[in-house]
């Protein structure tokens, strides 16, 4: 039992490896989901399960889409300037 807790605590002592490549940007999406969930949980007057899920999905999709668009626009701008 103590060993289990020790293993659990050890998981929070050493950082995991995240490569410095474009895939690391994918870490943005779980965070965007958390932001959408908490924002809608505080904003909606009454929490109906299905309506809440729909609103979270719409907000998550909108913010994600805009971030992807912004990323693509930045890459395009950098290519335009450097090439």
């Amino acid at each position: 039992m103590t060993g289990d807790w020790g293993m659990l605590a050890a998981a929070f002592v050493d950082p995991i490896h995240i490569p410095t490549d474009p895939t690391s940007v994918l870490w943005m999406f779980p965070l965007l989901l958390a932001i959408a969930v908490v924002y809608k949980a505080t904003k909606m007057r009454v929490l109906f399960g299905l309506k809440f899920a729909k609103e979270v999905a719409v907000l998550f999709g909108t913010v994600s889409g805009f971030m992807v668009f912004l990323g693509a626009a930045m890459i395009f701008l950098v290519k335009l300037i450097t090439e």
């Binding site: 998981a11 050493d14 950082p15 995240i18 690391s24 958390a34 949980a41 505080t42």
Partner: protein
Amino acid sequence: MTTQKKVDHGLLLIVVGLAAWAVPGAGHLIIKERRRAAIIFVAVTATFLVGLYVGSIGVVDPIGAKPWYIAQLMASPAVGLIGHVTETAVTEAGQRQYVSYGRASDVGQIYTSIAGLLNLLCILSAVYMTYCGRGEMIGEEEDDG
């Protein structure tokens, strides 16, 4: 509103605010918003724990990253204990024991700080709902139609 009622209401606002800070979602739980409280607790706690798992407890750095630390502290006063551990734990060579570098540190720091700021939003939401008398007004949580 009589003076006594005003004092009670003010006290309730403080209690709700402190509870919401101590445990994410506890403020909403006090005003009987159980579903909202559960969602907030799971979302904020999971975000913070993912941040700690990715970047290790080294991302809670009260010395080298004070602005981030203030944001992290909004998640719960318990973060102060983690900060104390990372601040005081040193190796035999006198170097800090829990440090985090690179992309993992960045991601961990962002996750934990955003979790803190999201909890700040929840604290304000809980206090505002209490101020508006929402807990008293609705009483029982409304179910899905």
